[in-house]
């Protein structure tokens, strides 16, 4: 079915070997060496056509020979598909292949574009989140500078990093803390009303995050911080019946 591996030069009618032998191409020009390429192309395509015709004809003849031989020998002909049928089905198959490939290519482009957009959005969101955390860290640093007063300038890098680590942990623990705080509040309301100083309760969590670096200052803000970690530590939450983990009751170690 292709023009590929058969050499020209079989006996034929349309294009004779002699034609090819006698064929002389025109020289292109003084400046461009070789033959005139349009001439060469035309001959080549004729040769290809001719070859294809030969191959098809040969196959058809083979079909016929086979059928005749079987007829002569009186054996039933195994219904071998004709060359023409094979060719038709082959090109139908190629069309189907091309459609499927096109559909898959389309779906590949769609999904990879969609993914690229998605990943970019996620990346930006995470970067923004990173920026927010950083801003929070800077703000926290400023607050503590304000609170720690004059010796703030001497704070080491280590302390800063500790702060950052704390803030990260705080972020993660926020939900746990909030829940245990609310529970603590509830149990407080139920059981400890009147014993604890009610005025203390609502303030603590709000003050907690900014207090970390001043832990060596033995004031009540440091104590508040410990109160919060206790609430986020595993085991310090709901399960601990009987020791109501109110922020208030833990705030004075």
């Amino acid at each position: 079915m292709t023009s590929a591996p058969n050499e020209p030069g079989n006996d034929d009618r349309g294009l004779n070997p002699a034609d090819l032998h006698e064929l002389r191409f025109t020289r292109a020009s003084m400046l461009r060496p070789g033959y005139v390429d349009t001439e060469v192309d035309r001959v080549m395509s004729r040769v290809a056509e001719e070859l294809a015709r030969h191959i098809a004809e040969k196959a058809q003849l083979r079909d016929e020979v086979r059928a005749l031989r079987a007829h002569v020998e009186g054996t039933p002909v195994p219904v071998a598909p004709s060359e023409q049928a094979v060719r038709i089905l082959s090109s139908a198959q190629q069309t189907a292949d091309a459609y499927v490939a096109e559909a898959e290519e389309f779906s590949r482009q769609m999904t990879s574009e969609a993914r690229a957009v998605y990943e970019e959005e996620v990346r930006q969101a995470r970067e923004n989140a990173g920026a927010i955390i950083q801003a929070a860290q800077e703000a926290a640093a400023k607050m503590t500078v304000g609170m720690a007063g004059a010796d703030a300038g001497a704070r080491s890098m280590e302390e800063l990093e500790e702060q950052v680590a704390y803030l990260k942990a705080f972020g993660q623990a926020c939900r746990v803390q909030l829940r245990s705080y609310l529970e603590a509040l509830l149990s407080d309301v139920e059981k400890e009303w009147g014993r604890a100083d009610p005025a203390l309760l609502p303030q603590q969590p709000a003050r907690a995050p900014a207090q970390r670096s001043s832990r060596d200052a033995p004031d009540d803000s440091a104590a508040t911080f410990y109160g919060n970690t206790a609430a986020e530590a595993p085991g310090a939450s709901e399960e601990q019946e009987g020791s109501p983990a109110t922020a208030g009751s833990r705030s004075a170690p």
Partner: protein, 379 residues
């Protein structure tokens, strides 16, 4: 058999590229239309593989000892396509017609040699298929849960309707009713369970018909068809050496099955699992791995990311990360994932001094180069 002549004859057909296989299939479908429905609609990618593979086999027809086990496995596996013994002569006739069509010097001797070779191969395959006759040709499995874990990853739980025997770490080929006749390999992520449930992890590949369907179309109530299990990974029952498991992407699935096996059956041993992915989001099974790590003191799990600067996980290719820990000289090592990752990791382990016989690997090769007609590679 004049093998040299057969090779020369085959080379002529192979030299036509797509023409010969195209001719072969068209011939087959015309002479035996009942075989058409066994093949997928598009066969662009099967065709060239078939012919190059045939060439390999012709080259080895004189080394039947090496070929026989491969052919037996192939024959057993063919039952899942619905292949019957009666189909083999049909295929043989089309193969011969093809080889004849593309060879001007076709001769009765060639015809005789090819018939002999084909008959031999077909006999080995059909005999193996017959021997496996008491086994189902394929297993229907119900999808009982479908969970999307990342934009392109889903975890499916499936339950075969008949008993399906396999070993932790093996893979199986499967077909879905929404993508008929396309068979692809997946690895159960658990060891065999008494209730038969299997967990399959699938990542949708762009333009990949089967994986996208499994992630986005298939749901609870759909039925999958499973072929028999295959694979290069399994635990040596005799050994209780500590394990080092290294997964790239979806390569996690068969390694998780090994962990499951250790926890169900023992023997007690240390297991270190490393999982590499591009970024945080691709660690689709993180929560469950953390749970396993907490429940099993003998297990440690390290997650790594290769392209995520913000991640709090370890950074680097998973092979790098593994090498930062260790030493691993006494371990039995299992590696699964994409080809590049597996090759890279295995060669680093060898350099590290782990003997080759203690390194086992499974490459999650794509079923074909790419979805376009010319097979352009996309990843």
């Amino acid at each position: 058999m004049d093998i040299a002549a057969m090779r020369a004859n085959f080379a002529k057909a192979a030299a036509t590229g797509d023409e010969a296989p195209l001719y072969f299939y068209s011939h087959l479908f015309l002479s035996h239309p009942e075989t058409r429905q066994m093949f997928p609609v598009s066969m662009a990618h099967q065709r060239d593989r078939l012919f190059s593979a045939l060439g390999d086999v012709v080259a080895r027809v004189d080394d039947l000892d090496a070929l026989v086990p491969i052919l037996q496995q192939l024959g057993r596996d063919h039952r899942k396509f619905g292949t019957l013994a009666a189909h083999y002569p049909a295929v043989g006739a089309s193969l011969l017609a093809t080889l004849e069509h593309f060879d001007d010097q076709w001769s009765p001797e060639l015809a005789k040699d090819w018939t002999e070779a084909y008959t031999l191969v077909a006999e080995v395959m059909t005999a193996a298929a017959d021997e496996a006759a008491e086994q189902p040709a394929w297993w229907d499995a119900d999808v009982v849960a479908h969970e999307t874990r990342a934009i392109d990853v889903a975890v499916l739980r499936i339950r075969p309707r008949a008993q399906y025997d396999y070993v932790a770490g093996q893979s199986l080929s499967l077909e879905t009713n929404v993508r008929p006749r396309l068979w692809r390999y997946y690895s159960p992520a658990n060891a065999p369970r008494p209730d038969g449930l299997m967990e399959i992890h699938v990542k949708a590949r762009d333009g990949g018909p089967v994986s996208s369907a499994l992630v986005r179309r298939v749901g609870v109530g759909d039925v999958l068809r499973l072929g028999p299990p295959v694979g290069h990974i399994s635990l040596d029952a005799e050994s209780d050496r500590d394990l080092l498991l290294i997964a790239g992407g979806m390569g996690l699935a068969p390694l998780k099955a090994l962990i499951d096996q250790v926890s169900r059956r023992g023997p007690a041993r240390r297991v270190d699992l490393f999982v590499g992915a591009r970024n945080d989001d691709h660690h689709y099974d993180r929560a469950d791995l953390r749970r396993l790590e907490q429940e099993n003191p003998w297990l440690s799990v390290t997650l790594a990311v290769s392209e995520d600067k913000l991640s709090s996980l370890e950074h680097g290719d998973v092979g790098d990360v593994v090498m930062r820990h260790g030493p691993w000289l006494s371990r039995e090592v299992y590696v699964a994932g994409p080809g590049v990752m597996v090759d890279d990791t295995v060669s680093r382990l060898r350099e590290h001094g782990v003997p080759s016989r203690r390194i086992h690997s499974e490459v999650f090769a794509p079923s074909r180069p790419g979805p376009s007609l010319d097979g352009e590679v996309t990843e």
